[in-house]
Point group: C2
Chain length 144, copies 2
DNA sequence: ATAGTAGATAAGAAATATTCCTATTTAAGA
DNA sequence: TCTTAAATAGGAATATTTCTTATCTACTAT
């Protein structure tokens, strides 16, 4: 898969080793759907083809991939942290608190932020997530 | 303290008992500074005057106070969840990833959000936090 | 003021998520 | 192929939050 090769190239450029575990972790983010994965999600997804991978390895690599800029950490209102590829075009999320579904929304609040409000603060990153009920769950009347 | 009486009034209206533990928890949010407190912060703060309060009681009540709308849950990018009074005027935060300080910013992204982007999603709440370096930490050169 | 009761609490156990430790293994350069 | 710094597996440890249960208490109706 070509997309995977690009990511592997980035690993090499950063001077980190290209291990099969890392390739498996990266692969789990590829594919048609927009993937917002937790460490546990990845551990399970990989388990099929790589049953001996340790959860610690997943965590360690997610942290490393975040640090070198390949992944972005997401707070989707759950206890566990999720990750997505930074190469996806920038977006935020509409998160259904009922079914957990996260739709992407292509609106970024930083665009409309008056720099005076920020003053001397050096912005490095931001999070913006909208919580509520998706169309499906609204139709179900918001009941569980 | 008058502010505390108002909060106690809200508890009564919601039909929950006004226990000394609850009063102590609410009190820890009052005062001049803008308080963003974790369960542990509150447990420690209360310990002076109420040494036997259990951490579980703090967690249980924070959840309840959030559910009845007195507190709002915050994700400040740390592992633990923080809370603030919803009666504070609506705001978001500039969070320093170095020293952990959280300044309030009075700009809300929902104001500029085109409703078409949201379509049939029913918005219930949102989070918007900006991470980076505060003026002090920037001057220190971003070193620890 | 008193008693009854639903709801609240304390304390510790359990669950969940993440990180640490260390012996072993391996990717990649010489 | 050899070397070695970096990475891994597996289990232990930590941190945060929730659960369980026996006891207690704020509030309501007397």
């Amino acid at each position: 898969m070509q997309e995977l090769q690009l990511l592997i190239q980035q690993l090499k450029e950063k001077g980190v080793k290209v291990t099969p575990q890392r390739q498996a972790i990266l692969s789990s983010f590829l594919g048609p759907e927009n993937k917002h994965l937790s460490a546990e999600d990845i551990h399970l997804a990989i388990a099929k083809t790589y049953p001996t991978i340790s959860l610690d390895t997943v965590y360690r690599n997610l942290g490393m991939l975040r640090d070198i800029g390949i992944l972005r950490e997401l707070n989707l209102g759950e206890r566990r942290v999720h990750y997505e590829l930074t190469s996806n075009i920038h977006h935020h999320h509409l998160i259904c608190t009922q079914c957990g579904d996260a739709q992407e929304i292509h609106y970024c609040p930083l665009k409309f932020l008056d720099q005076d409000k920020v003053n001397k603060f050096k912005i490095l990153s931001h999070s913006f997530e909208i919580f509520g009920l998706c169309e499906k769950c609204t139709k179900k009347g918001g009941l569980l």
